[in-house]
């Protein structure tokens, strides 16, 4: 860190954590698309949740008013984020908590590891937290000889199968019940060999496996859904009770929270506790929400640490429109309604933030280093159908952000590449396998390249190069015309 960097909004480092995959979206999505089991699992799960969500949202007559309030509270938060964080720090400290600040993933990991060691532990129990996935905390702790056990059922499935999460709410959404049974039979110590794939029995197997760990854990690690600046109250929203276990039974609790999770007032929870459960699990209310402020003598952990994480968020905040991506409350509604997500699955996005919101958040957190940056392809992982905006409980205009990020992606390099072409076509193609096959021909044949091999004309946003860089006269056919003509040609 040089002194000239001090105080400049900064992107996340790319050597630690999981904000970027190793290949572009079209390449990864292509493979996912060939996996019919994955498509079936995702299709089944997202269809189920879409129907339920629509029903519980329809029960709320003031849903639109709640969305508008949620949107405005978040916009207000971003406009005074540093002040609110200082207020939060003061409130948490006044109630016996200790606040730490982390510039990036590496620093957050180091803080957590040293806190675990100070507590004299070499094992921790974790509540699902996307922020700690983002920074690669488990891997960093393992390097220090500290074993982190994921306790959320889906996270446990991911951890046991050495997999990566693919959804905010259900990181193992890409697995069906019989695959989960197989993972448990293979990797759960002492599991009943007669375990069936009945969901209830699978849940019981996880309960039996984790119970002793909960009851003896000395350090718990969590994320935070919300943190009220005025009272220092942190909230964790969950279902299984694993969160309550981790937040209540250990002596030491460490909460890692992205700076954008602060909300101005405790009373703002009246909005978010209505918006989040219905959008997320499609329930009127999730089974458990825990809230706490600092340390309570005689109840729960007697040492509480709050780690406030930047890791690229300052870079997102610095963009007037792009900062709306920080409003996200990780409900996953936009994933569940997205036709591209439903077909490509979460892994194709590379980052721990998948789906429509991931497509606009990840590239802003990491910045785009050039045409070969996998995150440069993410803003194209959409057909811009608008379903994500309609579903978003805090009214993030994701389609608008996608278009804006496409422009940013283009601005990062001077000439379009074959990948740019592929990126644009693949999203529309995701809507049906037949279209995808058509799009593949684009990839293979390089339709846009003229005889010289130079790109002569591209539709928006590629057109930004051609118009801005005085390219040769565009061909008579527009992209739409071309698309219409070629889409039907063969299968």
């Amino acid at each position: 860190m040089t002194s000239t960097d001090l105080g400049m909004p900064t992107v996340a480092p790319d050597d630690v954590g999981f904000l970027r995959g190793t290949e572009s979206f079209p390449v990864a999505a292509h493979r996912a698309l060939a996996d019919t089991q994955l498509r079936r699992n995702l299709g089944h799960a997202t269809r189920t949740i879409r129907g339920k969500r629509a029903r519980v949202v329809a029960e709320v007559p003031d849903w639109e008013e709640l969305r508008r309030a949620g949107e405005a509270i978040k916009a207000d938060t971003m406009a005074r984020l540093p002040e609110l964080l200082e207020q939060l720090e003061e409130a948490v400290t006044a109630r016996g908590g200790v606040v730490h600040w982390a510039r990036d993933a590496g620093e957050a990991n180091a803080i957590v590891a040293s806190l675990v060691r100070e507590a004299g532990a070499d094992e921790v129990v974790k509540v699902k937290s996307i922020a700690t996935q983002e920074i690669g905390l488990n891997e960093a702790l393992a390097e220090q000889g500290i074993t982190a056990t994921e306790t959320d059922l889906a996270e446990l499935i991911v951890q046991l199968s050495d997999d990566r999460p693919s959804h905010f709410l259900v990181p193992a959404i890409h697995r069906n019940r019989s695959e989960i049974r197989d993972i448990f039979l293979r990797a759960l110590p002492g599991v009943d060999p007669d375990l069936t794939d009945e969901p209830r029995r699978l849940a019981m197997a996880a309960r039996a496996h984790l119970r002793r760990k909960f009851l003896s854990a000395r350090v718990g690690i969590s994320g935070a859904n919300f943190a009220a600046a005025d009272t220092g109250t942190i909230s964790v929203v969950e279902s299984e009770g694993n969160g309550r276990m981790c937040l209540t039974l250990p002596d030491t609790l460490i909460t890692v929270m992205g700076v954008e999770k602060v909300v101005p007032r405790w009373s703002d929870m009246e909005v978010f506790l209505q918006l989040l459960p219905r959008s997320s699990t499609a329930e009127r209310m999730n089974p458990y929400t825990s809230t706490w402020s600092g340390v309570t003598p005689g109840d729960g952990p007697q040492a509480f640490h709050l780690v406030l994480l930047d890791n690229g968020r300052s870079n997102v905040l610095a963009d007037e429109q792009g900062r709306a991506a920080l409003h996200c409350i990780r409900c996953s509604a936009c994933l569940n309604v997205c036709p591209v997500y439903e077909r490509a699955g979460g892994h194709a996005y590379g980052s721990v933030y998948p789906g429509p919101i991931g497509a606009v958040l990840s590239p802003q957190l990491t910045g785009i280093s050039g045409p070969d940056d996998p995150n440069a392809s993410l803003p194209y992982a959409s057909s811009l159908c608008g379903a994500c905006f309609d579903a978003c409980p805090v009214r993030i205009d994701i389609p608008n952000l996608l278009v804006q990020q496409r422009a940013a992606s283009i601005a990062s390099h001077r000439t379009p590449t074959a990948q740019d072409v592929a990126m644009r076509t693949v999203a529309a193609a995701m809507v049906s396998p037949a279209r995808f096959r058509a799009a593949e021909r684009v990839l293979g044949l390089g339709r846009f390249a003229g005889r010289s091999g130079r790109i002569r004309f591209l539709p928006y946003p590629g057109s930004q190069w051609t118009s801005a860089r005085d390219m040769p006269t565009p061909p008579p056919e527009t992209f739409r015309q071309w698309w219409k003509r070629t889409r039907g040609a063969g299968s």
């Binding site: 510039r103 299984e240 929400t289 825990s290 007037e320």
Partner: protein, 225 residues
């Protein structure tokens, strides 16, 4: 020396993160400023707190999420209901927070384990059930809230580790909506919002009841029917 190093780091990081965020706040400030937050949503529900209707609605929403509800007309009837649900579950021992009203337990035959002095986690794990009160309940969502600082609700661990939770809710504490409930709560106390027994949606996004929290949830609702 890790300690001292960590200490120095943390201070520096604080200044730097705040400086970055201040710069970003200004660089990305909305040109038109931030409009005031519209709060046109309902701040109070359609059913009056404590009314027969709101208690009826709570009964429905609790039942929807697999809690079993027992209605009793007044507090004198609570102990018979608690005795019955413990017996039905085959519970022979239960933990009670220090300030649980004695009259709620008059007819209970299961043996009480008072949480005073606090029971160890291992002891809590051996107890069959827990009986608590609640700070407030929300009819719209089928939720009750435990306030760990309230004498009839007790510290968080006692309502978490035993596998069967019996919660007694007074009609006067039942409101219709989430905003009304939050207005009655003190955020400086640890709070637990409970909506049904523990559950997961992690297998194919379908709700399955019974994971790490109490797998059985019985509610005794006290008030006019």
């Amino acid at each position: 020396m890790v300690e001292a190093d960590a200490g120095r780091w943390v201070v520096t990081a604080r200044e730097e993160v705040l400086a970055r965020l201040r710069a970003a706040r200004d660089a990305g400030a909305p040109r038109g400023g931030v409009p005031p937050t519209p709060r046109e949503y309902r701040r109070s529900g359609t059913l009056a707190p404590g009314s027969v209707e709101v208690v009826g609605r709570l009964t429905e929403t609790l039942t929807d999420y697999k809690a079993t509800v027992y209605r009793v007309a007044d507090e004198d009837d609570v102990s018979a209901a608690v005795a019955r649900v413990l017996e039905d579950a085959g519970a022979t021992t239960f933990v009670a927070p220090p300030g649980l009203p004695a009259r709620w337990l008059g007819e209970v035959t299961a043996r009480v384990r008072p949480d005073e002095p606090p029971l160890s986690v291992a002891r809590l794990d051996e107890v069959d059930a827990v009986v608590t009160g609640a700070a407030v309940a929300i009819a719209d969502t089928g939720t009750f809230v435990l306030d760990a600082s309230a004498p009839d609700q007790g510290r968080r661990a006692i309502s978490l580790v035993p596998d069967h939770h019996v919660c007694v809710i007074r009609a006067a504490d039942v409101v219709s909506s989430v905003p009304e409930a939050l207005a009655r709560l003190d955020p400086s106390h640890p709070l637990t919002f409970v909506s049904g027994p523990s559950a997961t949606s992690d297998i194919e996004l379908d709700r399955v009841e019974g994971v790490h929290g109490p797998r059985r949830l019985d509610v005794v609702l006290v008030g006019p029917m």
